[in-house]
């Protein structure tokens, strides 16, 4: 692990757009889509940036390694996940340039995997703080985090069979949930 940047000026700070260009340059076709959102706050209209990068599944680990080159150690906030029809999307929300008195950039790296092959590379070895959120994604979305050091069930009750994934939204999963959640069809998907 690299030493953290203690103060401003020790490392070269990139802007959101520069981070995007770096990813496009280094990962080439692996980058599917990018976006930089800028938000202003307060009377002073002070801006901060939120960068969104979507990559192919096979490039996901490289993308996280590349972000660690931007600012290390990486701070992971959480990984969010959702069912988007035939695919499952996972987005890892990282923060770079923290602890510098301002200018922290949120970098969200997302990737998708088909429901027919729900495998996803784990990054818990690169970012140890990711383990809790990866364990959660496994049980709630039914993705298999490949290489996860500890893949046990975390939040869901032991009485819920391991093949029930509450955040899946397809009819097949809803049928499985019927047994455990009252009026699940009234709730809709």
């Amino acid at each position: 692990m690299m030493e953290p940047a203690e103060a401003d000026g020790k490392i070269k700070r990139l802007t959101g757009e520069e981070i995007v260009s770096l990813f496009r340059e280094r990962l080439g076709d692996g980058v599917v889509d990018t976006r930089v959102d800028v938000y202003t706050n307060g009377v002073r209209k002070k801006p901060f940036e939120s960068v969104w990068i979507r990559v192919k599944r096979e490039n996901f680990r490289d993308a996280v390694k590349l972000l660690a080159e931007v600012h290390s150690p990486l701070h992971i906030s959480v990984a969010s996940g959702s069912d988007i029809g035939d695919e499952i999307e996972l987005i890892y929300h990282f923060q770079v340039y923290w602890g510098m008195g301002g200018g922290q950039i949120s970098v969200s790296i997302g990737s998708r995997c088909p429901k027919s092959d729900p495998r996803f590379p784990s990054v818990s070895d690169l970012v140890p703080g990711a383990i809790i959120t990866e364990r959660e994604k496994q049980e709630f979305l039914g993705v298999v985090m490949e290489g996860i050091p500890d893949g046990r069930q975390l939040f869901l009750s032991e009485s819920l069979p391991p093949d029930v994934h509450p955040w899946r939204k397809d009819e097949e999963e809803l049928k499985k949930l019927e047994k455990y959640i009252r009026n699940v069809h009234d709730e809709g998907v």
């Binding site: 209209k45 002070k46 969104w52 906030s77 923290w98 970012v127 709730e187």
Partner: protein
């Protein structure tokens, strides 16, 4: 597992907890060797419910995730859904009111924590005194919003209630009352020899571990990691303040990451919150408090809009993040992920508990401010004989109190504050 070690399960559930947790300790005599945390025993599936509701309904759901820091969940969800729907011009006055509410809540949460920490060590007079102190800020929260727990102040595009000029003197009165009591609060905890004895070098989180585990809030700041969303990525009224993260060294205590250091951080933050509230009251911009007065119009706008965003706030316990995705034409929130601060501190917790004494488990577990109530049932299994016995939270608490009394006798003098 060595011959003399045994497993000590603690937990799993207590009604007072926002995140009930089950601990499994592998003990060697009185020392914790390994820890496994198994949360989720009372997982309520709030995200599941939220993904079947519209953003205005989710607002109320978000506020009910936590009974102590309810407002920061609503704050994070409001910001995430506003950004996802492209509502970016939030009135400045509303941004300031949001900041004031969030800081009032931080004071109440930190003072509440201080009381819990005192109770875990057996200082019940101090518990009652700090909770009496907390009533002042609770009264002001009620004065502004009409509520003591779920304030229902925020919604997409602004806030529901204004802080009108005639309300300001009452809030300022509270600020001066806290300033008068502040030194007493700091002394009661930080100058007491017994409190020091129970917290210094207890439950240490090293800076390296804090960085590796992405720990957040006072837990990480106690170890000298200057992470604070209000400073790193200022949102709302915080953008106009030049804040610095509170670290123990500001009070002349090294950033050791022990329980004492975390206490120092929280006490410093109470003072910082008072300054922030005062700044916001003095510099409150004029103007409207809502982007759109008609709630139905807000809802219609969000129904048509599509997008995704994250909302981040600094909760009393640390960074809090909500992810929201809205699909055009779909009234409901399509994706919602809530990440409360304790979620990121679980792994740090494990690191802190290893090496702790059994009687210190209560205060170390409380040091990340998770609501210690989860320890309501403890089964002790003797590894050699397989004999089981049940310890309640009461037994556990008694062990902790006994240790304080033993130390007091050993020191041969009463504790500093006279309580």
């Amino acid at each position: 597992m060595s011959k003399c070690s045994y497993t000590l399960p603690i937990g799993p559930v207590h009604p007072a907890l926002k995140e009930p947790t089950m601990f499994k300790f592998v003990m060697d005599g009185e020392i914790v060797k390994e820890v496994d945390v198994q949360p989720g025993v009372n997982h309520r599936g709030i995200e599941f419910i939220g993904m079947r509701r519209n953003p205005l309904q989710v607002l109320h759901l978000a506020e009910r995730i936590c009974g102590i820091c309810s407002i920061v969940h609503q704050y994070a969800f409001t910001m995430a859904s506003e950004k996802a729907a492209g509502i970016n011009d939030i009135p400045e006055r509303a941004q300031y009111i949001r900041t004031i509410m969030a800081e009032l809540e931080r004071i109440h949460s930190h003072v509440l924590w201080a009381g819990v920490a005192a109770h875990e060590l057996g200082f019940d007079t101090l518990l009652h005194w700090t909770w009496k102190l907390r009533e002042d800020v609770q009264d002001v929260l009620e004065y502004i919003s009409g509520n003591r727990v779920n304030y229902a102040m925020y919604y997409q595009g602004g806030v529901r209630r204004d802080i009108s000029p005639e309300k300001i003197p009452r809030i300022k009165e509270m600020i001066s009352a806290y300033r008068r009591e502040f030194q007493k609060l700091a002394d009661a905890f930080l100058e007491d020899p017994l409190f020091k004895h129970r917290t210094v070098n207890v439950g240490v989180l090293t800076k390296k571990d804090a960085l590796e585990t992405s720990a957040v809030g006072p837990t990480t700041r106690g170890s000298g990691v200057p992470k604070d969303v209000r400073v790193d990525q200022p949102y709302g009224g915080y953008a106009d303040l030049d804040l610095k993260p509170c670290l123990p060294e500001q009070m002349g205590y090294p950033n050791t990451g022990d329980t004492y250091a975390k206490t120092v951080v929280r006490i410093l933050e109470v003072g910082q919150s008072l300054d922030i509230i005062e700044f916001c009251l003095d510099n409150m911009p004029p103007g409207p408090i809502r982007w759109e007065m008609n709630v139905n119009k807000v809802l219609m706008h969000m129904k048509k809009a599509g997008g995704e965003a994250i909302g981040m706030t600094e909760a009393p316990r640390g960074e809090m993040i909500h992810y929201v995705r809205l699909d055009p034409g779909d009234e409901n929130v399509s994706a919602w992920k809530v990440r409360a601060s304790t979620y990121n501190n679980i792994i740090a917790w494990q690191k802190m508990l290893v090496g702790a004494q059994i009687a210190d488990v209560a205060i170390v577990a409380a040091s990340i401010d998770p609501c210690i109530g989860c320890m309501d049932r403890v089964t002790v299994v003797d590894g050699e004989t397989g004999k089981e016995g049940v310890m309640t939270k009461e037994d556990f608490y008694r062990l902790s109190v006994r240790k304080t009394r033993r130390l007091r006798r050993m020191k041969g003098k009463p504790s500093g504050g006279g309580w």
